[in-house]
Symmetry: C2
Subunit: 198 residues, 2 copies
């Protein structure tokens, strides 16, 4: 993804997301984020006066927007758009990354949820917002393929849940099988939801 001509602030948010994806929220230090972004340490308290919590929240928000935008891209990449094809493209992003770079990173929103949902902070809300930002265009895409609106929302939730869990299992087992299984098993169900043309 583009990493070059961004301001230091955006680089730090991006780096934070990257590191959280790999090591989790607690194990990611502020100094480490600055170093990874090639940004001066002093900029942290300048751009993120809210401290670590603000930085994490912005990283989570960035991830949610990124996932949301990818939906449109995946959709554009399919010649014959179907729900199963879209889901396969979503999963392929992960299988490709794992095949290329190893199973070092997961979803930053998942990490933030696991580590911050119990603590009363605002990060949980950021994670919820990220999921919403992700699910909304996905449901819209399904509706555009002929899935009834009510069903589209449910299936979008199901797709994200399954993908998120498959990512988890894939990382634990160092094997993309859970991702491929999810695509294979869920595909027919998704395609069956398109309203039958009379």
């Amino acid at each position: 993804m583009g990493e070059a001509r961004w301001g230091p602030r955006e680089r730090m948010v991006f780096s934070a997301a990257q590191l959280i994806r790999r090591d989790g929220v607690a194990a990611t230090g502020m100094r480490e984020v600055a170093a990874h972004a090639g940004a001066p340490r002093g900029s942290l308290q300048h751009y993120f006066p809210g401290g670590k919590e603000q930085l994490v929240n912005e990283a989570v928000g960035w991830a949610g927007r990124y996932a949301g935008k990818r939906i449109a891209r995946f959709l554009a990449g399919l010649e014959r758009p179907t729900p199963s094809g879209l889901f396969a493209a979503m999963a392929a992003q992960w299988t490709d990354e794992y095949a290329a770079d190893g199973f070092t990173a997961g979803c930053p929103v998942a990490a933030a949820t696991v580590e911050c949902a119990a603590a009363g902070g605002s990060t949980r809300e950021a994670a919820a917002a990220a999921f919403a930002t992700w699910r909304s265009p996905l449901a819209e895409a399904l509706a555009g393929m002929g899935v009834p609106a009510a069903r589209a929302a449910s299936l979008a939730t199901l797709m994200i849940s399954t993908l998120e869990g498959a990512i988890l299992m894939a990382r634990a087992e160092r094997d993309t099988a859970p991702l491929r299984t999810a695509v294979r098993e869920l595909g027919p169900l998704l395609d069956a939801a398109v309203a039958p043309a009379p």
Copy 2:
């Protein structure tokens, strides 16, 4: 679950799982585990000379065995065993807990995976083993309901993936809707996999 007449060692493993479930691995301190278990601090280095990593691994292993054993219990609780009924029971454990105690805790295996999969330690293997311990009896249960063996393994993986992801989303949004959606949408697919009786 039974918490009373256990040895201090088991209490510590149980407490570790409990705290990891809530706050994650990194945010759970050794001293906190001992305090939560009502065990003396000095017992930590006695029972777990491998340090925190060993304690976490045992907690994850405990969670995996617990989940595996629950499958048999759920199965026994169904008068007419069906795949969808089993999945509904698995999800109901979470919806019930969330309705009763709030969304304070998730799955400890998920937490360990998210936080320890990148770090080269042995915890990732413990998480993989826990998933295997969970999936194996689940696949067996599906096979016992008439699902062909090859398919049963795939569906077991799918069920755990979806459940795990739904737990994640439910915690983030403080809403059991993702869990209920997973049950509603996945149920028919699961039941359709039972081999048609001739």
